[in-house]
Symmetry: C2
């Protein structure tokens, strides 16, 4: 294999589960026999082809050195979080007001001392637990859009009913391994209570893993508390069952809302994803090399902070590095520069030895048109071949993340199915090499009816649900549909066929009681 | 660099221009100062990132051995071409009727003895000559569609006026390096005279390189003759100025029409592209490994045949390996199995040491919708990262090649522009690492106005002509366009702005005279 990844990781000579979590017993809420939505697929992907590593050692070292320069000379600020400043002072960093500077190599050493290289997030259905790190990939739906787009309604604000429907769709497909988090913003629920209904929907309408709230430390705490109701307090203390995804306030800042969530999840031994959010030319330099160095600096400090809170706490090194339109200053997606940056970050993350968030199916298009599909394909492929483990925004994303599209969701899911096949690689054995078939068929004949074709046909090729490969005449006579119209019919069919996974009645009642009590404690807040 | 390609080629210890062509003087038709269509871009791409090589030595050796098994045990048939049979008998192959069997390693040895690893195809405008092989990439438009699709007319048969317009578009963009061949079938011209008008259009409306006819040996001869008028007889004998692209009649057959064209071009020292055409399950096994071995066997025999005709004749090792819909038996495109097959073929071609045809922007969609864009992106990327040199069908392809789309052409061209940037890789130097900018801006500020951004902004990111990254409100207020509508406006603008390159009056008259005489020799044939 012409890859550095496997080799580098083997060379490290460290246990694959360095700092990994012990597995304990669950409790009633974990429905061992819950419906698998009739899929025989594994609960996540084990990549069987190598990563694409375009950059050489010298390049990677220069990027790492620049990250060290940034951390040593310029530093990172922690805003409104005295505890984070205290932790870093205690760890030996130079703290000057809210600015923290780090000796060269210090942050990397903290990570490599205790951060798990691989960890498992447990699902309510144990058969759907997922593992991050190494050659494992987990696809999650898009996150955080206030708007919904359907072919029927156009663009409108999202509601809790949309949220539930999107969770149902993600539950049904074998090509998403995770229920996600804020799959859309349910703007019909007060801002301060939304997280309760969102987590309830993930737990009720799916049995896959889910993300908790990060928008306030008490909402993060509620997320962990609801996980404890389902998984049991002791299990949660020893295992990752819920995760939070936070952004750095790039450039070079973490604010107290985000680090407050980080400290809550990490203290509870739950997973954190820390994501530098860099639109080149705005939150970072316009040149990709500098943006990558910045992403490395910010991401390392985020992951290291989790280890200061609780050594061994599971964490994912995230990144979100994009480009900008020269015409409008708007963020652009699927462009070549961030693709290259993603590959660089993948190589750097593997050298660091942490699970990596990359992704996903990005576009700036407002609709699921050719632009959206091209940009999504061109942003997803680098995410996968860079060695990403946690692929957020893998399905549904439109309009730079402002809109979750129902048809886009279905198109992306179909595309993710293709990626499942791609990442399995090509089987080489006597059957696939087909020498007997060549002997049987010979020159000038066709393979359509030969024994080899009959035996292999059913599993030979990915069977797209949405692509139309019919003849022009067949397609025209059936109504000349485009991909979006087919996707529209498909999500309606999926929701019509949907059946919820079972849940233990005691857990159900405990969740309801918790949500009712928490809501009663708060006045509605709408912003 | 974590690649095998460069290393392997260096290990071969052969001169890069093994068998390469000498460069001689041109003549008047070659307009040295012709308009460059206002582009500063190079006339072709020099890839500056490594190939993606997913397969290990053991896999590649098994594929090569299977190809040898096919050639030794089953063999290849040459139909209706006694001269080819004679050449192979003379070369030491076992000829049994039309069936030819090859000792193991024999075909490879013939190729490696004389086939150029790298060669140049000269353009009428010397500044637009292109080089195939090594890390060079040449993008060509789609080839051979009888139908045209525009947003205005829908789908209809192509005409010579469409042909001219497509040549004009390809001439104008810096992202296509070549004028292509049968850019669409001009069905309003008799079949037996079409090639004269097509080549005339390439020579008149463009000054980029072009492909000649392969549909009959005399049409191939006409193609070479027209090239001689433009480039001069002596120059043509010593340099490649026109190329033909032929398919094998897979499985394991070359018919006399195709090998007749091959013998014509190769004898004239002009370039041949030989393309196994394998839809898995029909013209080859349904398992990708076997299809790849077959492609290697057929492609090697095609390239070796050019070397028997004239040692040193320029040739490109082609491939076209696709998948099939399990529902309809129709060919499918952009699917994961052929992507993997393409990467394998890329590694095999580099071990063989020949220029490689891969590509292009394939889709089975009838229209330039999300399906078309996803499939095109997912089929183009492997073509590029597999080390393809001659990327046919890079722009315009719809409906499995039956339709050339004007809007699809523009969307693909924009996408090819992105690929130009991608293949350049990421610059790493003090400027791009931007340490001074980090020092200047610092935590929590933005980079929008800093000196580094001002200096780098203009070249920072690929500037898509067709992607819309505006806000929803801007986009809505401007008419809620989709990508296809923008592409429609764009091709009309390009044609409206078009200015033809100049041509020497003597050459013009000689071409006209030749075409008139040849047409007078033939009765119209319509099928």
């Amino acid at each position: 294999m012409a890859v550095g990844s496997e080799t580098q990781e083997a060379d490290r000579g460290q246990a694959v589960t360095r700092g990994g979590r012990r597995r304990g017993g669950g409790r009633a809420g974990r429905s061992a026999d819950a419906s698998m939505a009739s899929t025989p697929l594994a609960p996540f992907i084990k990549r069987q082809i190598p990563c694409y590593d375009p950059f050489d050692e010298e390049t990677l070292v220069r990027l790492e050195n620049t990250a060290d320069d940034i951390l040593a000379e310029v530093g990172i600020e922690f805003w409104e979080d005295e505890e984070c400043l205290r932790l870093w002072k205690e760890a030996g960093a130079t703290v000057d007001g809210v600015r923290v500077r780090f000796d060269r190599g210090m942050v990397r050493a903290i990570i490599q001392r205790s951060a798990p290289r691989v960890f498992t997030q447990h699902a309510r259905n144990p058969a759907k637990s997922v593992t991050y790190g190494d050659n494992n990939l987990v696809f999650l739906p898009a996150y955080g859009s206030p708007f919904i787009r359907t072919l029927d309604d156009g663009r409108r604000y999202g509601t809790i009913e949309d949220f539930k429907n999107l969770v149902r769709i993600a539950y049904t497909t074998p090509y998403l391994h995770h229920s996600g988090g804020t799959i859309c913003e349910p703007v019909d629920i007060p801002v301060n209570k939304r997280h309760l209904d969102m987590i309830d929907a993930h737990l009720t309408y799916s049995d896959k893993p889910f993300l908790g709230s990060v928008t306030a430390p008490e909402r993060a705490a509620d997320s962990v508390e609801m996980a404890r109701i389902v998984f049991g307090k002791e299990f949660v203390d020893q295992n990752c069952v819920v995760m939070g995804n936070i952004n750095a306030n790039s450039p070079l800042v973490f604010d107290g809302v985000m680090t407050g969530a980080l400290r809550t999840y990490s203290a509870a031994n739950q997973g954190m994803v820390i994501v530098p959010f860099i639109l080149g030319g705005a939150m970072g330099p316009a040149t990709m090399a500098g943006a990558v160095a910045q992403a490395l600096a910010e991401g390392m400090v985020g992951v290291a902070t989790t280890q200061l809170v609780r050594p061994g706490a599971p964490a994912v090194f995230g990144n979100f590095v994009s480009s900008m339109s020269l015409r409008s200053g708007a963020p652009t997606f699927g462009m070549p520069e961030p693709s290259l940056g993603t590959y660089a970050i993948g190589q750097l993350a593997r050298r660091l030895g942490v699970p990596l968030r990359t992704g996903g199916s990005f576009t700036s298009s407002k609709i699921p048109d050719a632009q959206a599909a091209q940009e999504s394909a061109d942003s997803l492929m680098p995410a996968l071949l860079a060695g990403g483990n946690f692929i957020l925004h893998a399905a549904g994303w439109l309009e730079g993340g402002l809109t979750m599209g129902f048809e886009k969701m279905m198109l992306d899911i179909d595309h993710l199915g293709m990626m499942h096949t791609f990442l399995k690689g090509m089987t080489i054995d006597d059957n696939t090499l087909a020498m007997d078939a060549f002997r049987e068929v010979g020159p000038g004949k066709h393979f359509l009816g030969c024994a080899h074709t009959m035996e292999n046909y059913g599993q030979a090729y990915y069977d797209s649900e949405l692509a139309n490969a019919e003849s022009f005449e067949q397609w025209r006579d059936a109504g000349s549909s485009d991909a979006v119209e087919r996707a529209n019919a498909r999500w309606k069919q999926v929701l019509s066929d949907y059946q919820a996974p079972e849940m233990d009645a005691g857990v159900r009642a405990a969740l309801d009681d918790f949500i009712t009590r928490r809501k009663a404690d708060m006045a509605d807040a709408w912003y």
